[in-house]
């Protein structure tokens, strides 16, 4: 494997194992969606909590997600209320994070959600460092 291809490979392998585990353990009971404090902010709120989890699974498998599933994935901010609500210890917070990465195209599959990356993000961090730290601190700490 070339050096470039190897970049991030262990992370991707871990994510694939996690997705396999989640798909095998989740029974689509829908409890995670029912307790989610962010669900009502979705552009496509769902009435069927079991179906929406099925849509999230589809995204994890690299298939097209339903509008409801993509809407929920798009508003997940890792509240974590879903974790203790899950009767199967699936870790729905991890499930949703991986679904988000997948839906954004981060795992190499076609993007289903727009990636709204801030083009100034890292330059802004560098700029604030210059505004807040001395030249010596910049050199030694960053």
């Amino acid at each position: 494997m070339s050096t470039r291809a190897a970049i991030g490979q262990r992370l991707k392998e871990f994510e694939e194992r996690e997705i396999e585990r989640i798909l095998g353990a989740c029974t689509r009971c829908g409890k995670c969606y029912e307790v989610c404090p962010m669900a009502h902010y979705s552009k496509a709120p769902a009435s069927d909590s079991k179906a929406i989890v099925g849509g999230v699974h589809a995204v994890l498998r690299g298939e097209a997600g339903t509008p409801e599933a993509l809407g929920w994935i798009g508003v997940c901010t890792r509240s974590g209320v879903c974790v203790p609500a899950c009767p199967e210890n699936v870790d729905p917070k991890m499930m949703m994070r991986l679904a988000r990465m997948t839906a954004l195209g981060g795992r190499g599959l076609p993007a289903q959600l727009p990636a709204k990356e801030d083009p100034d993000y890292f330059d802004r961090v560098r700029a604030f460092a210059k505004l807040q730290l001395s030249d010596d601190e910049l050199k030694d700490w960053t």
Partner: protein
């Protein structure tokens, strides 16, 4: 002899040099010799959900750099801490122990209490989130730390915000607006004089409430620092309050370091941004 540690502060807390400097003084006063590292070259990669190749590369680089330092790592940023726990350490060989700063301060609270000598007569509302609390019980620990400060009273919070902190809400403006309004309303209803944040991301957002005149806002480190007699100026709050006039406070020399065009395009809008408050009277 002081214990050497690496203080991994993260990226976005660089808006708040006073918080970084105060943390270092607090750690030194508790008997540590902290080596601070952070910024873009130590990014955890959590912001790269849309590019896992980049995220993986950043994680491997940062874990490698922290490994080389061969010292326990104390983490400031909740994003870095949770990303290390959830992803970075699962896909890299981590050779260092890691503690979140709140955990360390709580574990050392008896010694910390002896350093908190200045009275701060203040009723504070601690702004809480749900998500990170499972990894580190900050919603219990931070109020317990604050109660060590003479004069500080922590009021009971009847509002816990969704999310794991006030980040990742850029695409969900209504949720952030609700957090602003619910936080201000709950704090005032509880009779609080001020809102105290745990995370810098929340501070960056909620200090807008302060700038809008709704309620004073600070981070818990600010209160510890003030009680210890540390005199770092919260420049970010001053800039935020000044808004358009922040350039005068920052000064031409510092603005020249980042470039006037970049300042006006990428920094000034953040300093001018104010929360949308439901009530027309911001302080009511």
């Amino acid at each position: 002899m002081s214990e050497q540690i690496t203080f991994w502060y993260g990226c976005n807390v660089l808006r708040h040099g006073d918080i970084i400097h105060a943390c270092l003084d607090i750690l030194r006063a508790l008997g540590y010799e902290p080596a601070p590292v952070g910024g873009v070259d130590y990014c955890c990669g959590t912001v790269k959900d849309a590019n896992q190749t980049a995220a993986g590369g950043m994680a491997t680089r940062t874990v490698g750099k922290l490994n080389v330092r061969a010292a326990p790592v104390v983490v400031w940023c909740p994003s870095c801490h949770s990303h290390m726990h959830d992803f970075m350490a699962r896909a890299n060989d981590r050779h260092f122990d890691m503690t979140y700063l709140v955990e360390l301060l709580h574990a050392k609270r008896e010694r910390l209490a002896t350093l908190l000598v200045r009275e701060l007569p203040l009723r504070v509302f601690v702004h809480q989130h749900i998500g990170f609390n499972d990894l580190v019980p900050v919603n219990r620990m931070v109020p317990e730390i604050l109660r060590l400060i003479p004069g500080v009273e922590v009021v009971e919070a009847d509002y816990v915000a969704p999310g794991y902190m006030c980040a990742s809400f850029a695409a969900i403006p209504q949720a952030l607006e609700d957090i602003h309004n619910n936080t201000a309303r709950s704090a005032r209803a509880a009779g609080a004089d001020a809102v105290v944040t745990v995370f810098h991301q929340c501070y960056r957002e909620l200090v807008g409430l302060d700038a809008a005149g709704a309620i004073p806002v600070c981070n818990y480190i600010h209160l510890i620092a003030r009680s210890m007699g540390l005199a770092y100026e919260d420049e970010y709050k001053a800039w935020k309050r000044a808004g358009e006039g922040a350039a005068t406070l920052i000064g031409a020399e510092r603005i020249a370091k980042v470039g006037i065009q970049f300042y006006e395009r990428a920094i000034l809008p953040e300093l001018k941004k104010r929360p949308k408050l439901l009530n027309s009277d911001p302080g009511s």
